[in-house]
């Protein structure tokens, strides 16, 4: 079928493109998106992805509830978001079209699998008539492709020879769609062919079928005259270096491994499965040769307890969960705080409250991590701002934990966890030297040869980390209030007041030792400041860029440290006419900033389970920042 004699199409150069694959949960859309992403990365584009899937593993086929999608934004420029509105939608069934058509750009291109547009499927998707011929598609460039039929025809030989049955052959239709879109965007498919052969190494007949379908899709684009153009997005001018694609959960796992290597401490990872954090456990479980002990506990509380035990034992102890699991860990986190042991607690946030929206993103656990424990129990809280930033933030969490002997909460979210971006690989020997952040105590610290486990370092206010097994330093830890120095149980009123203040002072010490805040203000004349934290960084970057191109003088600061807040913040915020704080929650950071700085911080909030679109942020910031003037 590889007819190379077909006429050359006109190749249109684009600066960027947004493609969305949508289909049934069982149609393999996430895999299709992943493959297209890898091909795109290898073509040298900057990119950002947005996977979106239902919480049900297999919702009823053909229904709106079962639609799974994957969006990819790629560009020859530096980009920060997975794109607001797709240029191209691939809809594998009517439900996918119904759910995603409205997101498409006006005049956008739609490829539909006509074979799935049966009366039954149309009905399931809530269509009373076929959108393909009732005028629904008038404003779009519609390409009707019998994707299932083409796949079966391409695999006729395989079916005849009994290599696979019709149902198995049909399952290759996502590869046909991938081949077609790859052709449209001039993406080489050789890498995916290799990947398929590798993936199905033990089932060569499946490898061959998938590769055949992939090529058939490519050739279909090339030979039919339905497609008048192909597109090309040239490689982006990224900073020199070696790159790979990485998702947030994968970067988090690698960051923890890096923290282990750089601290010289073996990693202990105790957790209980929960969406969207489980992939960190899966990733680390594959990396045992780094000395990682992964422990799947019986519940969230047990996972938290196990990391306290591992920290007591002298390992780099880490757990991860999502909102509901963090709620269960709260009491044990208080124990970790009062026993002043170093560990990292990761919260890959999802839509709440309660079970909420397990597979959707939200930033609504900030208060839970800041305040969700009994008593005055301050712990440092930091947040990652992009998939690749999860790597650096994991190292930063370990640095704070080890330096100051405290549990550290690290916030990620469902969007960061599953979306991907190109990552310029760091030089390993330039990563923070965490081994210098701590030393185990091996000698008595009192003149009489005794050991006082709560006698603090005057610089960091960290207490000694003396491991069981060390002769002469036997001591007892626990959740009851400690006497300063000796660590003995103390019910003394003045001591409790002093210990409580000390725990806040230690947090302040972390803040005082942070590098200066980075404020982005190219003009240096901005009078509006946008403050963000976590995964909104990309959309905020894009929005501020757009505002500046419209002549708005806007500055932006993105907070990695939420507790302690950077000590420069009160003065910084007070120096702007307007401070805007967009969040995927109901205004948690904004409330904190108002309380801490007495600046009238203005919120913009949305909790739809989806990341912000940069266009909505442009409108919101413009309205809040300049609306009164306009």
């Amino acid at each position: 079928m590889s007819d190379t004699s077909t006429a050359e199409r006109e190749r249109i150069q684009l600066s960027s493109a947004v493609v969305r694959f949508a289909g049934d949960s069982g149609d393999g859309m996430q895999l299709t998106g992943d493959r297209f992403t890898t091909q795109t990365a290898l073509a040298g584009n900057d990119l950002a992805t947005l996977p979106d899937f239902p919480a049900e593993i297999r919702a009823p086929a053909g229904t709106l509830a079962g639609v799974s999608s994957f969006q990819l934004h790629f560009s020859d420029q530096d980009i920060h978001t997975p794109g607001d509105a797709p240029d191209v939608l691939v809809a594998m069934n009517p439900a996918a079209l119904q759910k995603h058509l409205s997101a498409l750009k006006p005049g956008g291109l739609v490829i539909v699998n006509t074979d799935a547009f049966t009366e039954r499927n149309l009905h399931k998707a809530g269509y009373e008539s076929s959108p393909l011929d009732d005028g629904t598609m008038t404003d779009y460039q519609l390409h009707e492709v019998p994707i299932t039929g083409l796949t079966l025809r391409a695999l006729e030989r395989h079916i005849e020879e009994g290599a696979l049955n019709k149902k198995e052959a049909e399952r290759c239709k996502n590869m046909l769609a991938l081949g077609l879109v790859s052709w449209m965007y001039s993406r080489p498919i050789a890498e995916t062919e290799e990947w398929l052969e590798d993936k199905f190494a033990s089932k060569p007949e499946l490898a061959d079928a998938n590769v055949t379908a992939l090529r058939a899709g490519w050739n279909y684009g090339n030979t039919t005259e339905a497609f008048a153009f192909t597109y090309e997005v040239k490689a982006a001018k990224l900073a020199p270096g070696r790159y790979r694609n990485i998702t947030g959960n994968q970067a988090m796992a690698y960051g923890l491994i890096a923290a282990s290597v750089r601290s010289g401490l073996p990693l202990f990872y105790g957790s209980y499965p929960i969406t969207p954090a489980s992939d960190i456990l899966h990733e680390l479980a594959k990396l045992k040769h780094f000395g990682v002990a992964t422990y799947q506990a019986e519940d969230e509380i047990a996972a938290m307890g196990s990391v306290i035990g591992a920290a007591f034992g002298g390992h780099l102890a880490v757990t991860a969960s999502s909102g509901p699991g963090i709620a269960l860990k709260a009491e044990a986190m208080g124990l970790a705080m009062i026993t002043e042991l170093p560990m990292v607690v990761i919260d890959v946030q999802r839509g709440g409250p309660s079970t909420g929206l397990p597979t959707k993103t939200e930033q609504s656990d900030l208060f839970q991590l800041l305040y969700g424990r009994n008593g005055e129990a301050p712990i440092p809280v930091i947040a990652a701002s992009s998939p690749a930033d999860c790597f650096d933030t994991a190292l930063e969490a370990a640095r704070i934990a080890l330096t100051y002997r405290t549990p550290v909460a690290l916030l990620s979210d469902g969007y960061l966890a599953n979306s991907a971006e190109p990552w310029r690989l760091p030089a390993v020997d330039e990563l923070p030297a965490l081994s210098e952040a701590f030393a185990f105590t091996t000698e008595p610290n009192l003149e009489d040869g005794g050991f006082a486990p709560y006698l603090r370092d005057q610089d960091t206010l960290a207490r000694p980390w003396a491991l069981p097994g060390t002769p002469g330093l036997e001591h007892r830890l626990g959740g009851i209030e400690k006497e300063e120095g000796s660590g003995h149980i103390s019910y003394d009123p003045a001591n409790h007041d002093a210990q409580t203040r000390m725990r806040y002072a230690r947090l302040d010490r972390i803040g005082a030792q942070l590098p200066p805040l980075e404020v982005v203000d190219p003009s240096g004349e901005a009078d509006v400041l946008v403050v963000g934290w976590g995964s909104t960084k990309g959309p905020l970057q894009a929005a501020c860029h757009e505002l500046r191109s419209r002549g708005r003088k806007v500055a932006r600061v993105h907070l990695r440290h939420l507790a302690p807040l950077h000590p420069e913040l009160p003065e910084l915020l007070a120096s702007y006419r307007v401070v805007v704080c967009p969040e995927n929650n109901m205004g948690q950071l904004a409330m904190l900033l108002r309380a801490r700085t007495l600046v009238d911080v203005r919120s913009y909030n949305r909790v739809t389970g989806q990341p912000f679109a940069s266009t909505e942020l442009v409108a919101a910031i413009e309205r809040i920042g300049w609306g009164e003037q306009a």
Binding site: G241, P266, D299, A302, G305, G313, T339, E474
Partner: protein, 338 residues
């Protein structure tokens, strides 16, 4: 002679903290027995860790001059498991009670036992909540009248030994706070056992539940009621050995006169691979107010969770070599930008 060979005494395991249990509490006797035992078996204070939850018994670590961790209610097994996984060189003891271990922490207890983590669990059973001043506990007899149950408790008590056997624990024993010699014996067995050892200790709370175990503790009664399980010996008891335990055709056990039992007396063997017989023995006494077995119900070898976990790490290193961070980061599809 290295320091490791210096013979330690009970004093070396005794901390300088004032013991603050109520005068007359059974915990004192257990504490003294444990301190002496550790000296006897040659344990090292720096290699010994006591982990506890919440409750009267859970104050135990403060009185031991070893490493210790007084954790939160019911969660001692979770902290101890993390410690055991990371530190195979330590002897880790959990001290818990009937409320801490069986009520709020029941889930962790079950999972620790089935995993067979290398830990020793001492469950002080006094059939009452002491620290919260006298509510009924999961081991209180049905109909117990206490502060929270003025008309009698409604829930059926749990038998800790049956529960441990049901969770397929590999070392299960029962003893009595004041029976120093017997307690020492089962604790020594627990210390020597690799995997999770579970020891239920009947402990008298003289303030809120005095006399709960008189049938087994008091002179004049205990001779009639203690069924002492001795490996390899027929299970008989009573001042003259006049009563015996026999197995019924349905697998349950029954107490009869030695005369009636004849050659049907069950010979105790805690090493039987199946826990069926041990379980039947645990069901012999509905409550510790009559004849009740004490001693080691079960002692078998089974792979130990934390040993196996460390073996997997070692096997992965054998197979892939020591992890290399650069190799890991560059492990996906990489491309260079110049």
């Amino acid at each position: 002679m290295t320091t490791n060979e210096i013979k330690l005494t009970k004093k070396d395991f005794t901390s300088d903290r004032e013991v603050r249990w109520c005068p007359g509490c059974g915990d004192y006797a257990i504490l003294a027995t444990v301190q002496s035992l550790l000296a006897d078996v040659g344990a090292r204070p720096e290699k010994t860790v006591f982990v506890s939850g919440i409750g009267c018994s859970s104050r135990f670590p403060y009185y031991m001059d070893t490493y210790g961790f007084h954790t939160i209610h019911g969660r001692a097994p979770t902290v101890a498991t993390g410690l055991a996984i990371t530190r195979p060189d330590l002897d880790i003891w959990i001290v818990t009670g009937d409320g801490d271990g069986l009520s709020i922490g029941g889930n962790h207890l079950m999972h620790t036992l089935r995993r067979n983590v290398n830990l020793n669990i001492l469950l002080f059973n006094n059939e009452i909540y002491g620290l919260t001043k006298g509510q009924y506990s999961p081991t209180s007899p049905l109909g117990s009248v206490h502060k929270s149950t003025p008309m009698g408790s409604l829930d059926r008590p749990v038998n800790p030994v049956s529960l441990a056997l049901g969770a397929e624990a590999t070392y299960v024993a029962r003893s009595i706070d004041t029976d120093r010699q017997h307690l020492s014996g089962v604790l020594r067995g627990a210390y020597e056992h690799r995997g999770t050892s579970f020891v239920e200790i009947y402990q008298n709370c003289n303030i809120f539940n005095d006399g709960a175990f008189d049938a087994l503790r008091e002179k004049g009664q205990k001779e009639h009621n203690q069924i002492r399980l001795v490996p390899g010996e027929p299970i008989t008891f009573g001042p003259e050995g006049e009563r015996a335990v026999i197995a019924e055709p349905d697998g349950s056990m029954r107490i009869v006169s030695t005369e009636e039992a004849g050659d049907r007396v069950v010979v105790h063997d805690p090493t039987r691979p199946a826990s069926t017989t041990a379980f039947a023995l645990s069901r012999l006494a509905p409550s510790p107010t009559g004849p009740t077995p004490i001693g080691v119900f079960r002692s078998v070898d089974r792979p130990v969770y934390d040993d196996e976990l460390r073996k997997q790490v070692a096997a992965a290193r054998e197979r892939y070599g020591e992890g290399d961070l650069v190799e890991l980061l560059e492990g996906g599809n990489v491309w260079d930008v110049f």
